[in-house]
Subunit: 352 residues, 2 copies
DNA sequence: AAATCTCCATAAAACGTTTTAAGATGGGCA
DNA sequence: TGCCCATCTTAAAACGTTTTATGGAGATTT
């Protein structure tokens, strides 16, 4: 009948072929109302014969939902963010969502209106905001703005009222790292921090400081150097730090990249790790066990966090769809784990 | 008039408010036909007053395109794939596309029909297939299958007829690495390869072998050990290799992660790099300059490749939309760059 | 035998846009 | 005045689904 090859097969083509109406085909496909067994078989056969594929745009239009979640992320070239994304993807797939990915070029950017409008226009069912909390790039987050948007879950954000947030517990991670160094009998524990514009960097700094203070140790400012998360700043950081405070015998470094730079600087200066200086990193990059020496580091549970974020978002989406009242906004915190390796305990005790 | 708060503002609401018809609002928004200046102003005012946001699902339905590209990727936890994705995202945004991301859990999976059907059903305008070519996971790629799908660009794939492909030139990269080692006067150049199921791994191996053969050197099988891309296999690989061939004085390692393991093994065995063994990696991870010693490595141009992939795909999409004939399928190859650092030339010549 | 149920199928309306074909308005020209 | 033309608008039809209200056939009850 139709010989036009550019004609895409629609549900009414299938209906014709199977001698039923479009509505019946729809019922057979969605299973929302009963269809007799033999007509269902005819329909399925017609679908196969014609190679029919439903148009999810049309379905989304009438259903008022796209089965799509908007993911706003940044820093994907780093291990942490991409790991989080993988968790997000796995869980979203399991729940039948597709992901609309928007990468934020410059995460300091606080003018995100165009982006939010785009996601709204595409009618995403919900949004995961996986951009680090830096400077005032969260200034747009306010109840009246959120009301115009689909449900949102924020990742890694300084808690604030009326917002649903998932956080890796940087504060606790820093405490665990510092406590570990204290238990090893280290006297003077320095820190190389991330940029203090970053909320997470401030949390890690706070964890270090409060842990030291709690055990009556010094946590003064000249034990801290601020880096930029990159290895180079770790390398420079160690040099600066040892000039100021040569007696430092342990270091908590706010991420593994900078820790790698620290290790390199130590080698160059002829310092032994961990004998002269013990080093703890943060992130547990897959290569951390193969640093020289293997790096003791804090492992945040990012995969879990990504999955939980999607589950929570899904609940919010469903509540909205069914007209129930939203779950109460909450802050979920994911405790990290300390991976002890050579850079703190030496070669004897690890790696048989 | 409408007090129902759950009512989403549509184009006809705007039309009412501005005392025009829906068609006119559409014309004003798309700019496809002229609209008088004062009515346009009225319309824009109404849009602002009501907070109207166009429904891109509806627009996609009637326009027969979604302004969306499907990105199928895997291995996002590694540097290379995420870097490629960033290039893809940048260029796609510039051309007005959004990205529908589908991560392939197991890239060996060759049954990708469900995934392709989903992307078709969502009416993506085109697809970027950014999954590594492993085993027979490309067996589904055949002209008759491709004909049912939106335009596709494949990344990193063994060339085959009638398919558009972007490739980082692994063969050339491996040759550059090996040639560099030869020029440094190294005698016996081993290799730690990636898994040979991977097309890229085979290309790198071929580059190493043919470069050696071209200069009359040995390239026998016992100079090669196969790893799994991970640092651990590099560490084990060096040990195995030196047991078989203790005279090895240089090593080409198929990626930086494994090279890191090699460096670690060298330290453990008391071998000096580069004095005893020179090492070249592949990928140029951001941390490569901070390895101990800093790693000489091959830098593939992944960002460029991602961008070019989108541009090419865009041309294919437009050709299809306008009913022109498709651009001829082609294979584009991106030449890499050698980053020379301490692990081959020592500390004197780099890093002042 | 009539009335009532079940079960299944359908036609038509909706979802929110763009596009098509046609119409209205007013000005210029003969 | 009558005609044509340019410029702007519009009503209605599409796009491909799902849903709503309706209907018809047979089985079951009264």
């Amino acid at each position: 009948m139709t010989i036009d090859p550019s004609h895409r097969i629609t549900i009414v083509d299938v209906a014709h072929q199977a001698n039923v109406s479009a509505g019946t085909v729809s019922n057979a496909l969605t299973g929302k109302r009963p269809v007799a067994e033999d007509t269902r078989a005819r329909i399925m056969q017609a679908i196969r014969d014609l190679g029919y594929q439903p148009n999810l745009l049309a379905r989304g239009l009438v259903n008022q939902r796209s089965q799509t979640l908007g993911i706003v992320a940044s820093g994907l070239e780093y291990y942490g963010p991409s790991r989080t994304l993988i968790g997000i993807d796995q869980e979203a797939n399991a729940l039948g969502y597709s992901l609309l990915l928007e990468l934020l070029h410059n995460p300091l950017e606080s003018n995100v209106d165009a982006l939010l409008n785009l996601l709204s226009a595409r009618r995403v069912d919900g949004i995961i905001w996986s951009v680090h909390d830096i400077g005032n790039n969260r200034s747009w987050v306010a109840p009246e703005r959120l009301k115009q948007l689909p449900p949102i879950v924020f990742l890694t954000m300084n808690p604030q009222p009326d917002v649903t947030i998932m956080n890796p517990d940087s504060y606790q991670g820093a405490q665990m790292a510092t406590q570990h160094l204290l238990e090893l009998g280290r006297r003077t524990i320095g820190m190389i921090s991330g940029p203090l514009l970053w909320w997470e960097a401030r949390e890690r700094l706070r964890g270090w400081r409060e842990c030291l203070q709690a055990s009556g140790r010094e946590a003064s400012d000249d034990l801290v150097v601020t880096g930029d998360w990159k290895a180079g700043s770790g390398e420079a950081g160690l040099i600066t730090l040892l000039e100021k405070r040569p007696e430092i015998d342990a270091l908590f470094v706010a991420n593994d990249d900078m820790a790698m730079g620290v290790l390199r600087a130590a080698h160059r200066m002829g310092k032994c790790v961990p004998e002269d200086i013990a080093v703890v990193g943060y992130d547990n990059m897959p290569t951390a066990p193969y640093f020289w020496p293997a790096l003791t580091t804090v492992r945040p549970r990012l995969l879990d966090m990504g999955k939980e974020a999607i589950q929570t978002l899904h609940r919010m989406v469903e509540a909205k769809r069914l007209g129930r009242d939203m779950p109460e906004p909450e802050v979920l915190t994911f405790g990290p784990e300390l991976m002890v390796r050579e850079s703190t305990v030496g070669f004897s005790r690890v790696d048989g």
